[in-house]
Symmetry: C2
Subunit: 184 residues, 2 copies
DNA sequence: GTCTATAAGACGATAGAC
DNA sequence: GTCTATCGTCTTATAGAC
């Protein structure tokens, strides 16, 4: 393929992401990443300038995914069907395509705040839930829209969700739709 | 007061909690904690056997708060009024009395998992949302009960809530009550 | 693009004096 | 209950050969 930098670079990202999500960023050493790839630490520094750089590249992947979803959503007509499809795509994004990134980000907040990536991500999410919110923007409606998105990510949360507690497929989406449905 | 161990011990807990919640556990050194208290690292080791021990003592505070709430809730009659009061007390617990503990825990998951405190906490929360859930335990009802609790903590979350986005007092409680109200 | 070797420093934790 | 001094280990990151 065209714009691909190198295979090793992608393998570093993948292994780093796994370890970051499981053991946390600070507790994952470059030695550990290198070992699992059967290369040396110095090799990593050829592909990434610093350890922090690896994180930025990982977050970028998720941001790109959110941007695509936002771009698509903005050119659709506002309808119940569109909202449903936005929620469905968001769920696929944060659970399947970029599940590990989401887990890593949500569970390593102090690190990501220090790296300055938390605010931009929050802005993307805010754009998203404004798209699925009805016209009236009273605080309760806004909170429900936030909760609709949270419902789709709750499996990641070890305190209020957690593994083994994920609802059957479709249930989270159903509850999310209720939350953004116009009041009656 | 009677069972109090020492003033320094409590000051260590307080300062450590502030730093853990802000910069994360791994990035907070004992040197930093000691400096802010104007003592030496060695002094900390008189009051706590290890750095990890400080964390356990902090989590214990939150667990005690949850246990009190659970004990109170269990001796109340099941009614709409009781549910409302449980949610109100939970909100006070996780936002006011133990807000920093909650932030620290939710944002340093890999560390707390390694320390083995995440599962017990999840169990307490599970007890709690079973108390506020109507009889029928279908997956959607269960998910809504979880979301009711999440609504009351959302201010902590930097991605879906975040500072400055906390709803006016009462709104979160209202939405939480909707979520646990019997369907009609 | 990957290696060996190493620099430079921070960290958690301990020993022992006071 | 707090101190000084130190130990051993691990870390990120770099220099330079191949």
């Amino acid at each position: 393929m065209a714009g691909r930098r190198s295979d090793t670079r992608e393998r570093i990202q993948q292994v780093a992401l796994e370890l970051f999500a499981e053991h946390g960023y600070e507790k994952t050493s470059l030695r550990e990443i290198a070992e699992r790839l059967a290369v040396t630490k110095a090799a990593l520094y050829y592909h990434f300038k610093t350890k922090e750089d690896i994180v930025h590249s990982l977050v970028e992947n998720l941001v790109d995914g959110l941007d695509e979803l936002l771009a698509w959503a903005k050119e659709q007509p506002r309808s119940q069907g569109t909202t449903e499809e936005v929620l469905r795509r968001f769920s696929a994004l944060v659970n399947d395509e970029h599940g590990p990134e989401m887990q890593f980000i949500q569970q390593n907040v102090p690190t990501l705040k220090k790296f300055g990536v938390m605010h931009p991500l929050g802005a993307k999410v805010r754009e998203l839930f404004q798209l699925i919110t009805a016209e009236d923007q009273d605080p309760a409606t806004e909170l429900r829209a936030r909760l609709a998105l949270v419902a789709l990510v709750l499996g990641i949360n070890p305190m209020f969700g957690g593994p083994g507690t994920a609802p059957p497929p479709g249930v989270a989406l159903q509850v999310a739709l209720e939350l953004v449905a116009p009041r009656g």
